[in-house]
Amino acid sequence: MSRPLLCVRDLAIQFGGVRAVDGATFDVMPGEVFTIIGPNGAGKSTIFNLVSRIYDATAGTIVFDGHDITRMPVHRIAAQGIARTFQNNELFEYATVLQNLLVGRHRHRRTGLLAHVLFTPGARREEEHHRRKVEEVIDFLDLQHYRDQSIAGLPYGVRKKVELGRALAAEPKLLLLDEPSSGLNVEETEEMSFWISDIKKLLGITVVMIEHDMSLVNDVSDRVLALNYGKVIAVGTPSEVQAHPEVVRAYLGSEDTA
């Protein structure tokens, strides 16, 4: 087997007394869709925040594409080739869809402040190039209708698409999707499932996603990781993990307390 794209080793973080992630270890292989499941508060989003360097790990290492990124500043993560979406949508609310997607291109910019201030021919050429790249994403996700609309007036389902689009515009090697189907209706969830397979097959992007909808998980995942109380309790194919006794117990247990 080839070298893993993402290696997480003994990763841990504590918030006060809460061990949100407690010694998590896993590998993500290039080209796969890797899904993290677990009850609410298991630490899934925290793992994303650790990998995208929004949080500082208390212990452990994160190696991406052969580079140790455990201590890398957050704004350099995108340049490594990691893009993400957020559980509760973090869009640029008072900007248009187009502008949001163009921010996704930020890591690919070559020109500097002076070129921008004077809007030199170089800056113009680059803008047109980014604009073309973003149009590919707009076509891919069928966002043509919303191109020049401001985010503030968009329905939830479209916001989710725009956020996915913004991450895709970055042309990442690794895409982190935090609950891509939450808040979507059945049709939109199905659409999302097609896009995730397309992202893997057509664009060749490795996907790590957090998801609760088990049919979506089964449809698109190559491997699944189950997390509970910040600890990895099972890794394997979707059916293996769902049959795992500890996973069953974690879900039943969480229902007891819920």
């Binding site: 989003s45 925040n49 995208s52 929004i54 957050v74 704004h75 350099r76 993560i77 995108a78 340049a79 893009a83 993400r84 957020f86 559980q87 509760n88 949508n89 973090e90 869009l91 640029f92 609310e93 008072y94 900007a95 187009l98 502008q99 163009l102 921010v103 996704g104 291109r105 930020h106 890591r107 910019r109 020109t111 402040l113 070129a115 921008h116 201030v117 004077l118 809007f119 800056a123 113009r124 803008e127 047109e128 980014h130 604009r131 073309r132 149009e135 503030a152 007036g153 329905p155 939830y156 916001r159 913004r166 970055a170």
Partner: protein, 426 residues
């Protein structure tokens, strides 16, 4: 509904989205038409005969453009208006317009800092002062504006980086106070550094000079009209820079940190660099405005650059609107015209003697101390409640009303309740 066919993506990144070239041509054509027309009427403005010939052609050209140019025609007309204004209005009004440009230059900087990057500054008076003093001192040392203005801009930008440092750790009202504290220090330095700034007595500022006697070529810009055109040219330059920032990755990065720092950082935006850049650019523009301000007033002293100026600049932006560069101009007009309006109001009041008590009170109100500040406060409150997008927002509504007439629907601009991220990821 208007459908746009996209022929190239260049269309999305034009300086003026409606098409800068038609505006430019319309403007030039109309200018030629008017000057030519005046020439025909034998006004001693321009004596070249060929302009008269151009006039008829230009008028037709301009009208044709207006058919498909729309906004271009009106911006072109505006361009002509500001160019011919000094020939048509008195020197007093020319002076007032010059101040509009001065404040609008600082306004463009505030649109970038507040509107685009979402960072507040109560320290803009310091940048204004810095630009004014640097330009005045270099002018006194015999340097021309090609040296003194860039120097004023540069020093102000550096000061902007320093005063913007708290922005790397604070937001909102805390940032406001921190920037105010820095500005206060600058104000103190100006008042106490006697050997350079002449302390609280202030310094006289010479007229801006272009070129040097030793070159055998020198122009001293002393008349109102000359200063007007200097301010106009610098404003246009600043506006172009502002629009360029807005449409480039730098501006988008600023917009990104305004709306979500987490998402911006995750897309590769360096928060520290972006905030610092916004402060530096905004300070540079305020510094340029300050330099001009000194040259126009011919006198500067520390008490012109207190917190009151910073607040006035913010008021200007609240009233003008932060959403677009238009807001800077609308706000500047407001800032210059407001004191005039208030003093006109004072003059128009009948004497209070012999009136019933309530009326006498109302009549004496405009001359009461603090009336001006009270009016400003009232205007800010009214704008925040009824028109958060400022005069620019109002303007957009009026424009839409005319375009859609008689189909305009009531409640079209009602603010919609929108989805809010209930729980942020940090």
């Amino acid at each position: 509904m208007r459908f746009l066919l996209r022929t190239s993506y260049g269309q999305d990144i034009r300086l003026f989205p409606f098409g800068g070239a038609p505006a430019l041509w319309t403007g030039l054509a109309l200018w030629a038409a008017i000057v030519g027309g005046l020439n025909v009427a034998s006004l001693p403005l321009v004596r070249e005969g060929w302009l008269a010939l151009a006039a008829g052609y230009a008028l037709v050209f301009g009208l044709v453009l207006s058919r498909w140019g729309g906004a271009a025609f009106w911006y072109g007309l505006l361009g002509v208006a500001v160019i011919v204004a000094p020939m048509l209005v008195g020197t007093y009004f020319v002076g007032q317009l010059t101040f509009v440009f001065v404040y609008a230059i600082a306004g463009v900087g505030l649109v970038i800092l507040l509107g685009l990057a979402g960072q507040i500054s109560l320290g803009h008076a310091a940048f204004f002062a810095c630009g004014a003093y640097v330009a005045a001192i270099l002018n006194a040392e015999g340097w021309d504006i090609l040296v003194s203005l860039p120097a004023a801009v540069l020093v102000s930008a550096v000061l902007g980086v320093v005063i913007g440092l708290p922005a790397l750790r604070m937001t909102g009202i805390y940032l406001g106070f921190a920037t105010y504290a820095f500005a206060f220090i600058v104000e103190e330095i100006l008042a106490r550094w006697d050997s350079v700034t002449n302390g609280t007595l202030g310094i006289a500022v010479g007229s801006p000079v272009l070129g040097y006697e030793s070159w055998g070529w020198q122009a001293v810009l002393e008349t109102e009209v000359e200063l007007y055109f200097l301010a106009l040219a610098l404003f246009v330059g600043t506006l172009v820079v502002g629009l360029n920032v807005q449409r480039s990755p730098t501006g988008r990065a600023m917009m990104a940190i305004r709306d979500s720092e987490t998402a911006a950082a995750s897309m590769g935006v360096n928060l520290a660099v972006t905030k610092t850049t916004a402060f530096a650019l905004s300070a540079a523009m305020a510094g340029l405005a300050g330099a001009l301000y000194g040259h126009v007033l011919h006198f500067i002293s520390p008490e012109q650059f207190t917190i009151l100026l910073s607040i006035n600049l913010l008021v200007m932006m609240i009233v003008g609107g932060l959403g677009a560069m238009h807001g800077a101009v609308f706000g500047a007009v407001f800032l210059v015209m407001m004191p005039q309006a208030i003093s006109a109001l004072k003059g128009a009041m009948p004497p209070a003697e012999g009136l019933p008590e309530v009326l006498a009170f109302l009549v004496s109100l405009p001359s009461a101390p603090g009336f001006e500040a009270g009016i400003y406060g009232l205007i800010i409150i009214l704008f925040i409640i009824f028109e958060p997008m400022g005069l620019h927002g109002l303007w957009l509504k009026v424009k839409t009303w005319f375009r859609l007439f008689p189909l305009y629907k009531k409640g079209m601009f009602k603010r919609q309740k929108s989805y809010m991220a209930s729980e942020r990821n940090r």
